[in-house]
């Protein structure tokens, strides 16, 4: 049996979604503006978009690029971050470069990369890759840096080589922090994907949004917003589930608020 309190806690995000949609509904009914359809109108337009073959293919293609970009970024960034965290030389070498790249808006590179590589999948995937890399490197770096020296000594005393230490001690010890980075990276991948599609206006979810906007199909605009928002929330929720499963051994993450009164 689930206690009522636990039930409320579990359904709270769903309740929040319903609450937000309700606020939207009331606000749009109050405003009575053409450019602000009601929540029910927007929700009703969702099946049309997902039923339309072309836009569905478009959205799925976007998601595939996102997955590839995210995957490659994670595979390359984690080893680099871990090395930076364990070696002062490696971190001194890369840190300034990463600091300079940090404030560059990655999606804004879209037009420039398009100039070089055309508008194909490579360009779009590359931009997503760039967007995801930095947070994953940063968190892997922080995670590896925080690994206790004594733990590595114990490993070395048991006869592990430096590489084995990195894979068998640093990687698992830094995993909670690495996964936090991946979670940020995943949301950023979606953001970069949408933004670059809005800038390039060739295909994908971001393009559907602005095409509908240009053609005055306001229901479609808002329906797309719900779809993209739902993608973000679902990706995050699924990843969070995987994450808690993987790092169940670690200290419980900060969750319960501590009231100061």
């Amino acid at each position: 049996m689930i206690s009522p309190a636990a039930l409320v806690k579990r359904t709270a995000p769903v309740l929040a979604c319903i609450g937000l949609l309700a606020i939207w509904q009331v606000a749009s009914l109050g405003l009575k503006s053409d450019s602000f359809p009601t929540a029910t109108d927007a929700v009703r337009a969702i099946p049309d978009i997902l039923g339309d073959k072309e836009s569905l293919i478009n959205i799925l293609a976007s998601l595939r690029r996102m997955a590839v970009g995210f995957g490659i970024a994670v595979l390359l960034s984690i080893p680099l971050g871990l090395l930076m965290g364990r070696s002062r030389a490696v971190s001194a070498f890369f840190n300034p470069l990463l600091m300079v790249i940090y404030p560059v808006p990655k999606a804004a590179l879209m037009p420039i990369i398009m100039l070089w590589l055309g508008v194909g999948d490579i360009t779009k995937t590359l931009v997503i890759f760039l967007g995801v890399s930095l947070p994953v490197i940063y968190h892997s770096f922080e995670g590896a840096k925080a690994v206790e020296e004594k733990m590595l000594w114990s490993g070395a005393a048991m006869g592990l080589s430096p590489l084995q230490c990195l894979v068998r001690i640093v990687l698992p010890a830094a995993l909670p922090e690495i996964l936090t980075g991946c979670r940020t990276g995943l949301v950023l991948a979606l953001i970069t994907m949408i933004t670059s599609e809005m800038i390039a206006r060739q295909s994908g979810a971001g393009n559907i949004l602005f095409n509908a906007l240009d053609m005055g199909q306001y229901d479609t605009v808002y329906a797309m917003i719900i779809i993209v928002g739902a993608m973000g929330i679902c990706l995050d929720a699924v990843f969070e589930r995987v994450r808690t499963r993987l790092v169940r051994w670690s200290e419980p993450q900060f969750d319960m608020p501590l009231s100061f009164s």
Binding site: P96, M99, P111, M198, Y222, I225, L235, P257, F260
Partner: protein, 255 residues
């Protein structure tokens, strides 16, 4: 020796940056990439300096900065207030927590078309987008900082006769300051990025618009200039906030 060690590290760290620029120059000099597509670094930086002195480019920067600061300021005020309130009151917490869980991972840029429809193509929609994007890191880190304030700090202040409502301003807020400023730092860089992207998507002025204009006419040099300008702006603002931070947190260990 600390200074010598530092300077060696600085040279070491500058190497990859120099290498990147050298590679860039090399690609152009050896004709691998045509100048039309990849202008040489010297040309880009001299163009940047030249542009910085022109009135029109300065106007673009000012437009971007206004949106950036307005959005960021709103995010700081709203984020810190909600964050502290959620840490202080279990009722507010119960309401805010699920809403934040839903809204934080939502790609805010998807809201941009709706903001355009509701607030028009001017400053309003861009400022709101910047505020929406910068809000969550600030809110979450404020909440984290305010709810992990050492209980005994609060007790000490209460025993010294501080009334409950003053505890918020005299203990919780200053004690949460390191965490709040970390959130602000993340929020500020996000603001820089978002304002630029919003201007690229639709705008009539601002640095982002300058990039799009250049892209339409295939002026590769002019595409690089605003991009470097916004990145420099991000670095400078980040540095300024870092200075403010080390001043405000001078009492805190390892700040």
């Amino acid at each position: 020796m600390m200074p010598r060690y530092l300077s060696a590290n600085v040279i070491f760290g500058l190497t990859p940056i120099v290498l990147v620029i050298a590679l860039w120059q090399g690609l152009v000099s050896f004709g691998v990439a045509p100048t039309v597509l990849l202008p040489p670094p010297g040309l880009v930086f001299s163009r940047l300096l030249q542009q910085l002195l022109t009135w029109t480019f300065q106007e673009e920067i000012v437009a971007t900065l206004i949106r950036l600061f307005a959005g960021f300021a709103i995010a700081v005020i709203v984020g810190v207030s909600i964050g502290v309130a959620a840490a202080a009151s279990p009722v507010i917490n119960a309401v805010v927590r699920p809403i934040v869980r839903v809204l934080a991972p939502l790609p805010k840029v998807a809201l941009y078309p709706a903001l355009l429809l509701l607030l028009g193509f001017g400053h309003g929609s861009k400022i709101t987008l910047v505020a929406a994007d910068a809000l969550f890191p600030i809110l979450l880190s404020t909440y984290y900082g305010a709810s992990t304030v050492e209980q005994k700090l609060v007790w000490s202040a209460m025993a010294a006769g501080t009334p409950r409502y003053e505890i918020l301003f005299k203990v919780v807020l200053p004690a949460a300051m390191p965490s709040i400023l970390t959130g602000c730092r993340i929020g500020l860089v996000i603001s820089c990025i978002v304002v630029f992207l919003a201007e690229m998507i639709t705008s009539t002025d601002g640095l982002g618009h300058a990039l799009v204009t250049a892209a339409r006419t295939f002026q590769a040099v002019d595409m690089f200039v605003p991009l470097i300008a916004i990145s420099l702006l991000g670095l400078i603002l980040n540095g300024l906030l870092g200075a403010v931070r080390s001043y405000l947190l001078r009492g805190f260990p390892d700040a």
